[in-house]
């Protein structure tokens, strides 16, 4: 094959453990894709002009340290391709292929389904980069700006991971899908991202923390189920992605920690719940943001009763959370399950075959996980002696997808009339006034070690660096 394109020095430009240098197919695909990715990053990636950023770069998958930290110019970040370590004895843990060796190639029978799963997962990764494009300009500290960019480059790397799978295993159709991942854009009228939540803007840092806590956590659970996949390259890819995803959760969890802590301080200092005037975010407003981001994220799990999820499970493509730790037959062919339902104005349950209840199962795991954050934040409030608690709203509140779509249910779980719900929704969800207030607080703080008024400083820095470390250099 003759090519006029400049050859890319793959191993140095693209850290990997997939023998990129020896794989013509991948090289050919990436030669075309990588420049497009860089163009996309320039157009849609972080809009703040920086010299370099203290970033973690994945360079290996071993136990002795998989990441490397250093100041890196953003556009020279080395997005790599990593799969977790290969287990030659791994077998499919569930579904009708249970016990068979995992697949190292895409079984033709499941090509369409696997491709769809990977495309949907892949579509979310660049979407969040797009959603967070302008946030850097209002970072409350260099530490936070660095975390934002860390999340961004790693979401970029997760896109690479999915693109790797499409390029390596799905032939021409896979390459075309990989191109489409860059062609769709968050919030675009013509070609939006596939999932609704990823077309919502992330206009401020409170939203960013909420997003990384709630929405990235959905990602964690989706990756967790794909980690169980019988298609081994997908499984190994997702397993490694989960490592990075943990940091994104951390950004969300500690970000909300710090907002709550600062609010508590202001409440104590000013002896009032109305901390807005003091440059803080009132608890009621934090609760509204929780209500919104939590419920939008619940929608990402799809319908309570899903034949797609059942098919994916039976085929061995997508398992349950912690599939191998579960003590059942991993076939679920004869089991029953209950799913949430909304009938005759009542919140109730439907008995369905267990296979059809897998989305609900995963959502349930997610909800339990979300509760841990609430406990943390309420501990902060309790320690500060504040007699108020943040909570997760009822699962049926503000839902657009599934059994509760369109139902008028309050955060407390009470069914009310639609007009009643609409009349009270400003008490539960962020209003324009709330958003304007939060936005009004968003001023950049670019001096090392300094922090914005509305958020507490972090307790420790990154990679044992101090909090006042110069995480971001500017030109």
């Amino acid at each position: 094959m003759t090519s006029a394109r400049p050859k890319i020095d793959f191993d140095s430009k693209i850290p990997n453990n997939v023998d990129l240098a020896g794989d013509r197919k991948l090289q050919r695909a990436l030669e075309r894709w990588q420049p497009n990715f860089l163009d996309w990053w320039a157009d849609m990636g972080p809009a703040v002009d920086t010299k370099d950023v203290y970033l973690r770069t994945a360079v290996d998958v071993g136990r002795d340290g998989w990441a490397h930290f250093d100041h890196v110019p953003m556009n020279e970040y080395r997005w790599g391709v990593f799969l977790s370590e290969h287990d030659p004895d791994r077998r499919i843990a569930f579904g009708e292929h249970k016990g068979e060796p995992v697949w190292q190639e895409v079984p033709g029978e499941y090509r369409a389904d696997l491709q769809r799963l990977i495309v949907i997962q892949g579509d979310t990764e660049p979407a969040s980069v797009e959603q967070q494009r302008f946030l850097g300009a209002t970072a409350p500290s260099l530490y936070d700006m660095r975390n934002l960019f860390q999340v961004n480059v790693e979401e970029g790397r997760h896109l690479w991971a999915m693109v790797y799978l499409l390029h390596a295993y799905f032939g021409r159709a896979g390459r075309e899908e990989a191109d489409q991942l860059l062609a769709r854009n968050s919030g675009s009228d013509d070609s939006p991202r596939i999932l609704g939540a990823f077309n919502e803007e992330t206009p401020d840092w409170l939203s960013f923390y909420m997003f990384t806590y709630f929405t990235d956590r959905d990602g964690k659970y989706q990756l967790g189920t794909l980690k169980e996949s019988g298609f081994d390259p997908l499984s190994r890819t997702c397993e490694f992605m989960l490592k990075e995803e943990a940091h994104h959760m951390f950004v969300g969890t500690t970000g909300i920690d710090r907002v709550v802590r600062r609010t508590a301080e202001l409440m104590q200092d000013h002896d009032t719940e109305e901390v807005a005037g003091a440059g803080g975010i009132p608890l009621t407003m934090i609760q509204k943001y929780i209500n919104f981001h939590y419920t939008v994220s619940l929608d990402l799990f799809g319908n309570e009763s899903s034949t797609n999820a059942a098919n994916y499970f039976t085929a061995g493509l997508k398992g349950r959370w912690q599939e191998e730790r579960r003590e059942d037959d991993h076939l679920l062919a004869d089991d029953a399950g209950a799913v949430d339902a909304f009938k005759n104005g009542q919140v109730t349950h439907n008995e369905v075959p267990a296979l059809l209840a897998l989305n609900q199962d995963l959502r349930h795991e997610y909800i339990n996980d979300c509760r841990t954050g609430l406990k943390r934040w309420n501990r902060i409030l309790a320690k500060a002696g504040i007699d108020a608690e943040l909570y997760l709203p009822h699962v049926g509140f503000n839902r657009q997808v599934g059994a509760f779509a369109g139902a008028s249910i309050t955060p407390a779980g009470k069914v009310v009339s639609e007009s009643d719900w609409n009349a009270r929704k400003d008490q539960w969800l962020p209003t324009e006034v709330d958003k304007t207030h939060v936005r009004s607080l968003m001023h950049p703080v670019l001096e090392p070690g300094k922090i914005a008024s509305w958020i507490a400083p972090p307790s420790t820095g990154i990679n044992d660096k101090p909090v006042d470390f110069e995480y971001v250099h500017f030109h």
Binding site: M1, R24, E105, V106, G108, E109, Y110, R111, Y169, G171
Partner: protein, 579 residues
């Protein structure tokens, strides 16, 4: 097709619904016939159906009353081939019965009742193909005349319908009939219904009366209703038949001094998963449920018609045609679960083009013409084969001229763009090393030599309604087209390069293998036959589809169905809902 016979108490299910049907062998020859004999008298061949009652191809029934099964049909097919190739001077063929009392009672009901659905379907398809071949012979100057010296019922009459003329002895008892509907609850499904109205042009209300009247019609009424051409008194029978045969012979333009060739048994090595002929190789991958069929065109193939006469059946073009025919029949009948066939060719493109010139320039040579007709019928067999057909056009292949039809008969065509480079995993299935890219060549062979059953060429079917695309291809006639060109012209489905090739093909095949075999059969049959209907497409399409539906309905094949109850003295218990 029916047989009027005494009930047999114990009918063995020779091909139980779940188990494997017996393996069918299509090898035969006059010296081995059990059910037919023929004599050649000058320009006329006399063909006698004389079925051996104990000669069923599988155990479990007796072939009474000259009823037939697949074994009888295999011999008839062989016989037609002998007449074509070994007796080219024959200009008329008289088809009659070797029994005193009747002509033929049709397909054996015990056999049908005890057969699995695939067996019935395959049997009917093969029967249909042979009958189309008989009509083909008439067109080629070997006119078939059915001389019904006794009753022809069901499939017996359908066999007569495939002939150009039907003479029925007028003895006040012999009749022609289609008793399938009234007696068996199925259709006269191997062309009967269709030929009565399409070919014999019987009025539809009369056809309705005829097809529901189990005893049929004889004598003057049969003539008046155009069911037969003549009803001949017994005393004049032999003379009239001979006169009609002589008249048909006189009207033929066939070459009088043609010297026939022998059709010796095919050389074929068989293992559990391979069929190896001189030029055609079949390899079955049972896990993948695919068969790879490689047609190897030797460079010894020339455009000299004298070589064809000298070498006869050993000539590569005729040998390839026979081998492919045999391979198709065997795979179709014996390998029901091998759902996808990969069609490949190998050999020099020049040799394929020599075959093209031989065919294009020498149709006045009877043997070239006969070989062409044979090849045409083999391609048609592919068209009606209920398997996913996929052509792989790789370096070292010779999809040119007549051999390009193989690819065009497929449901999809994949062509390697460029060559296999560097990649050690990608070797040609043929094992051949190839340094030049694959090419395919369009010739006159694509523009009328090998029409499909719908009367269109395969290229015409492919580009149905898109004359510009067809013209664009016509302009490239004779050029060696590489993958990209072929893809641009729409001659192939896709032209992946060597990096993509292995994965694309593997995924495609695995994906195909995961789809419903029934849905694929239906889809492919619909896509292959675009455009106009002909009698042939109506037989293979409409009539066969209805028949196959009826076959699986409880009213026919259920325990209380008519097919099962026939001959037991008890009535079928029909589900009366009209569907």
């Amino acid at each position: 097709m029916t047989v009027l016979e005494e009930p047999v108490n114990a009918v063995a299910e020779h091909a139980d619904e779940a188990g494997a049907p017996p393996r069918v062998d299509f090898d035969t020859g006059p010296e081995r016939y059990r059910h037919w004999r023929y004599t050649v008298d000058g320009e006329t061949a006399w063909v006698y159906l004389d079925v051996a009652e104990d000669g069923g191809i599988v155990p479990g029934y007796e072939l009474k009353l000259n009823s037939y099964d697949l074994g009888v049909d295999i011999e008839l097919y062989d016989l037609t081939q002998r007449l074509r190739f070994s007796h080219p001077q024959v200009r008329s063929v008289v088809l009659t019965s070797g029994k005193d009392s009747n002509f033929c009672a049709g397909a054996n009901i015990r056999m049908l009742a005890g057969s699995s659905h695939p067996w019935k379907v395959n049997f009917c398809k093969f029967t249909n193909e042979t009958r189309n071949g008989i009509e083909d012979m008439t067109d080629a100057g070997q006119t078939w005349i059915a001389a019904l010296n006794g009753t022809a019922a069901g499939g017996g009459y359908e066999m007569a319908l495939a002939c150009d003329q039907i003479l029925l002895v007028d003895d006040r008892s012999s009749a022609v009939s289609l008793p399938e509907v009234p007696l068996l609850g199925v259709l006269p499904g191997t062309g009967g219904l269709t030929r009565v109205i399409d070919k014999r042009k019987v009025r539809k209300d009369r056809a309705d009366v005829f097809a529901t009247k189990s005893e049929g019609f004889g004598g003057r009424k049969a003539v008046e209703w155009k069911l037969v051409d003549e009803a001949v008194p017994r005393r004049e029978w032999e003379r009239v038949v001979a006169e009609r045969a002589a008249a048909a012979a006189a009207a033929s333009t066939r070459q009088a001094d043609a010297q026939g060739i022998e059709l010796p048994p095919l050389r074929r090595d068989e293992t559990a998963d391979t069929l190896t002929y001189d030029h055609v190789r079949v390899t079955i991958d049972r896990d993948a449920r695919t068969a790879t069929v490689v047609v190897a065109v030797p460079d010894s193939l020339t455009d000299d018609p004298a070589a064809l006469h000298d070498q006869g059946a050993a000539h590569p073009l005729l040998a390839i045609t026979r081998e492919l025919d045999d391979a198709i029949l065997r795979l179709r009948t014996n390998e029901l679960e091998i759902g996808t066939w990969l069609l490949l060719t190998e050999g020099p493109v020049d040799a394929a083009l020599a075959a093209d010139r031989l065919i294009a320039n020498h149709q006045d040579d009877w043997l070239v013409a006969e070989t062409t007709r044979y090849l045409k019928r083999v391609f048609k067999r592919l068209d009606v084969t209920s398997r996913s057909l996929i052509a792989l056009v790789e370096p070292g292949s010779c999809f040119a001229g007549p051999f390009l039809e193989l690819a065009l008969a497929c449901d999809r065509q994949y062509m390697l763009e460029g060559t296999f480079e560097e990649d050690e995993d990608a070797t040609l299935p043929s094992g051949a090393a190839a340094e030049d890219p694959a090419t395919l060549v369009v010739t006159d062979a694509q523009f009328g030599t090998f029409p499909m059953g719908n009367g269109l060429t395969r290229l015409g079917s492919r580009f149905y309604g898109d004359d510009d695309a067809l013209e664009a291809v016509r302009e490239k006639q004779g050029e060696q087209l590489e993958g990209g060109d072929a893809d641009d012209l729409g001659l192939v489905t896709d032209a992946p390069d060597d990096i993509d090739w292995t994965d694309e093909i593997r995924i495609l095949l695995e994906e195909r293998a995961s789809l419903s075999p029934d849905a694929l059969t239906g889809m492919e049959a619909n896509h292959r036959f675009v455009g106009p209907e002909t009698m042939e497409t109506r037989i293979f399409g409409r009539l066969t589809a209805w028949q196959n539906w009826i076959f699986i309905r409880p009213n026919a094949s259920g325990p209380e169905g008519a097919l099962r109850k026939y001959g037991t003295g008890r009535k079928a218990d029909f589900d009366q809902k009209r569907v």
